[in-house]
Structures are given as structure tokens and as C-alpha cells.
């Protein structure tokens, strides 16, 4: 029980990073991005190339890979989403779905379907309060917490973070106040790229690297972001932890194959009882 709760905590904390990325992207661009799963996959494989094929240490590989991936996402946005920006969220969603297929299959084309893993030395799991933990899980918790703190500082203390919040809150008002949205959009993609790359690496450490690794988290990531309230960074964090814990604990009472059902039911329940999520603003139509 305690062990399962701990595993759920780790799953949840992995989901926090992509959930935050989704919620930032949604806040600024106003459509749910279905390509984030594949983006994590591709980023993880980029880091894999640096780490395993070029023999860099994982930390350096992740840092360089994440920055490169952030830049790549700015380019991807320029090519795919920028020309469609004014077309409404449905078109953008369909484009993001297509983009997800492309990115995932670029990874499949380049690296094949076999599962791979990062070059990290194996360490014996240790026990604490009767819970078995391994080093990867410690790294995951540490890295995610640091990333969350960094995001908190960025969003509340730094001009670019405040500008992002302003654009996501009210684009027209932000424009009046002299905040250029193209620049903010570029920054948002870059930061989302960092988050997704680190998230992808953590998933790769927790499980293994394979083409569907990112998209298999997609529903959970959306559930976390919706539970917290799409567009609310704090909500994404809390939502991810809840979704991770509940779906892992659910394996105690139901077959583990259907773990994905929990986030799905969570989405349905949230939509019925509290559509704005835990921390979101109630949505007022027209």
C-alpha cells in the first residue's frame, strides 16, 4: 500500500512537467496540444543520442538536448502553428495531432521499435520506512522538484514569466500594455520544450525509451492539466500528483492494464462537477 502510494507519487511527479508544459501552451495559444506526447519521445531520443551514442554524461546530454529541443519547438511552431494561428482551436488541434504522428514516427524511423535505455550505472535499490526506492526515482523526484521551483520563480518573479501570464490571461489587454505576443509565444515554446525534454528523459529513466513512450502519457497529462484547471500552473502540479497517485493506487483494486482508465474517468468527473478544474477560473462564454 505504502509502496504503491510511493510509486504513484513518482508517476505523478513525472507527469507534472508535461502537464505544466501543456497548461502553459494552452494558456498562451488557446488550444490543447496533442503533440506533446510525441514531443517528449523525440526529445528523449535526442538526449539518448548525446548520452549513449556520443557518450556524454546524462546531465550534460539532458541540458544540451533540452535547450536544443526548445529551439527546435520554436522552429516547429513557426512552420506548423504560426500559419494556422487565426483559424480556431479545432484546426490547431488537428494540426497538432498530425504533428504528433510526424514526430513520433521520425523517432521510430531513426531508432526503430526496440526499447532502449539511457547509459546510467545500475544501483541497488535501498529501503526507507519499508518502501523500496531506487536511485532513478530519487533523481526523478529531485529533478522535478527543482524544475517546479524554477518554473515558480520564472512565472512569478521574472518579467518574461509575468508577460506569459498576462498574455494567457487576456491577450488583448497584454497587447495594449506593450507585450508583444510573438515574442511571448516563442518563449513559451522554448520553456515548454525544456519541460518536455526533461519530462521525456525522466520517463525514459523510469520505464524505457520506445516510440509510444510519450503518447502513452498523453491522457494522464491532459487529465492532470484539466484537473488543475487548464491554464493554471499550480493546478497542473497538484493535478499531476493526484492523478499519478490515484491511478497507481487503482492497480490495487483493478487490473493494471486499465490504468489509463483512471485519468479518463477523472476527466469525465471533473467535466461534470467542476469544469474549470481545481484552480482554474470559471469559464464565461461570450
Amino acid at each position: 500500500m505504502l509502496q504503491t502510494a510511493f510509486n504513484g507519487f513518482v508517476t505523478g511527479i513525472i507527469v507534472t512537467l508535461p502537464a505544466l508544459a501543456i497548461t502553459l501552451l494552452f494558456g498562451v495559444l488557446k488550444f490543447p496540444n496533442f503533440a506533446v506526447g510525441a514531443m517528449m519521445t523525440l526529445a528523449a531520443y535526442m538526449v539518448f543520442t548525446l548520452n549513449v551514442q556520443l557518450g556524454w554524461p546524462l546531465i550534460a546530454a539532458t541540458a544540451v538536448g533540452a535547450v536544443a529541443f526548445g529551439g527546435l519547438l520554436i522552429a516547429v511552431d513557426y512552420l506548423t502553428f504560426k500559419p494556422l494561428r487565426e483559424r480556431g482551436s479545432i484546426t490547431l488541434m488537428v494540426a497538432s495531432l498530425g504533428l504528433g504522428f510526424v514526430l513520433e514516427n521520425i523517432a521510430r524511423l531513426a531508432y526503430g521499435n526496440t526499447a532502449r535505455s539511457f547509459a546510467i550505472e545500475l544501483a541497488r535499490p535501498f529501503r526507507f520506512l519499508d518502501i523500496r526506492m531506487n536511485r532513478e526515482q530519487m533523481i526523478i523526484i529531485g529533478v522535478s522538484t527543482l524544475a517546479m521551483l524554477a518554473m515558480y520563480v520564472l512565472l512569478t518573479r521574472m518579467p518574461i514569466g509575468r508577460a506569459m501570464r498576462a498574455v494567457s490571461d487576456n491577450p488583448a489587454l497584454a497587447l495594449v500594455r506593450g507585450i508583444e505576443s510573438p515574442r511571448i509565444i516563442r518563449w513559451t515554446w522554448f520553456i515548454a520544450g525544456l519541460l518536455l525534454a526533461v519530462g521525456g528523459v525522466l520517463i525514459g529513466m523510469d520505464r524505457a525509451l520506445e516510440p509510444p513512450m510519450g503518447s502513452s502519457y498523453l491522457i494522464a497529462v491532459f487529465a492532470a492539466a484539466i484537473l488543475g484547471g487548464l491554464g493554471s500552473p499550480l493546478g497542473a502540479f497538484v493535478g499531476a500528483l493526484i492523478i499519478g497517485m490515484v491511478s497507481e493506487l487503482s492497480t490495487l483494486v483493478m487490473p493494471p492494464n486499465y490504468r489509463i482508465g483512471i485519468p479518463l474517468c477523472a476527466i469525465a468527473l471533473i467535466l461534470v462537477f467542476r469544469p474549470q478544474g481545481l484552480f482554474g477560473q470559471p469559464y464565461i462564454r461570450k
Binding site: V94, L97, G98, N105, I226, N257, I260, I267, L271, R285
Partner: protein
Amino acid sequence: MISFLILISIVVCFSAILALALNFQWGLGGMVNFGLAGLYALGAYSCALLMLRAGANTFFATVGAMIIVAAVCGIVAFVTLRVTEEDYFAIVTLGVGEMLRLVALNEDWLTKGALGLTGIPRPLGDVVPPQYYQYFLLALSVALLLGTLWFLNALARSPFGRVMRAVREDDVVAATLGKHVLWARVRIFAIGGAFIGLAGSLHAFYYQYIDPTQFSNIVIAYAFMAVIAGGRGAHRGTILGAAVVMLLLEGSRFVKDLIPGIDSDQLAAIRIIIIGVGLIMLLIYKPQGFLREYRLQVDLK
């Protein structure tokens, strides 16, 4: 060669029915369906299981599959759209589709899991002599495709079709004019679902063997591509789009012979990359597609 063409034509027919169903839900109704692959699988499995386990004949199995998929679609639309917006609806359909595929993969007692279902009976399989069967199946598929086209065309031109387009363009205006938006959407999604079930049944009849890998993301990519290429809302365009996309997909099998040293996984990946890039390019450069949606025309003489 002739028999290869016939087989491809049958594939084009049921793919076109699937694309028409998506066009009805998304092109005419404005409701994105990212769970298409799972719902398609639901149709194929329902049809196959109704015959293999419940002993239904092919006709009732097909009707049953249509009803089951329509019911699932209706429930999904009702539960989700009662409270929220299209953005959330897309996410929910994606989740439902994944869930259906997981059920097909994991419930061994019912679906035989990854092994798949074999020995699916075909319509009039014991009456029509085997050497002519492919011609018969082609004729049946074409007939069903034309029937689907006729039915959806009639619906699109009926008063209900106008409600659909009104809801798609601006649901607030439609509601202001006294149209029940939620009920209209549930019906749109369920009717589309029925035809997804029909396409799934034909899929099962054609292959006589179904397993979860047949219902992968390429189904979604292909159907969206067909609808966008054909022009959202345009039925004939959708069929044309489906035919072109399917011929490209099937034709790309020969790429394997042209490029040495490429394995089938890589080929599959390349096909999806091409479709995905094509999808985005079409959205950017030709969003209205190649044929136009039906418009009511008044002769001013």
C-alpha cells in the same frame, strides 16, 4: 493484377465510409473525433463477436455493430458536451478511443487479445462460389458506400442538415434561434458513429481476421487526411480524398522494392510521416479542400 485492383477497391470503399462518417461528425457537425481508431475497432469487434459468440448472421451483426458504436458515440457526446467545450471533447474522444483499444488488447476471454479473432464469416459466404466472392464483396461494398453517400447527402440537405451547419458555425446563434444544440450534437455524433460501425463491419468481413494492431493511429491520420483533402463538409470530395489517400497508402507498399534495405517498420513510419506532413500542409495551404461543401442554390430567373 485485376484481383489486386479489386481488393484495393474494396479497401477504398470501406475506408471511404469511415471517412464519410468522420466528415459527418467533424466536417458537417464541427465535432473532432480523435477516438476514431478505437471506435472503428469497436465496430469491427462488435460485428465479429456478434457472429462468433452470439451466433448472429452477417446482416444482424452489422446492424448490431452500427447500433453499438452509435450508442457509445451518443453517450460520449452527451456526457462531455452537456458541460463543456469542443477542446475537452477532443481530449475525451482520444481517451475513449485508447480505452477501447486497450479492451480489445487485454480482454482475452472476449477478444483473444493480441492473437485477434479469426474465421469471421462473410455475407452470403456459403452461397456465392469462392472464385467469384471478391466480385460480390466489391459490389456489396460499392452498394453500401453509395447507400451511405445517399443517406448522408439527404441528411445534409434536410432541415436537420441546416441545424448541423448552424451549430457548427456558431452554437450560440443556433441556440438563440431555438435549436437544441446539445441534442443536435448527440445525434450528429451518434449517426456518424453508426457509419463508423458499418465501416468496421466491412473491415471485419474483408480481412476475416482482426487484431488490435489493425486499428492503430494510421487510421486516424488517414481519415482526417481524406476529409481535409476532400473539403470539409463535401461528401463526394471525401470519397475522392479517401480513394486518393488509400491508393497512396497501398501504393507505398511498392516503395519497399524501390529503396533497398528498408524494413517494414521503417516503411510504416515513413507512410505516417508523409500523411502527417500532408495533413499539416493541406491545413495551411488548402484548408477548404478540393471540393466544395453543398450549398443551397437559388435559381434567380
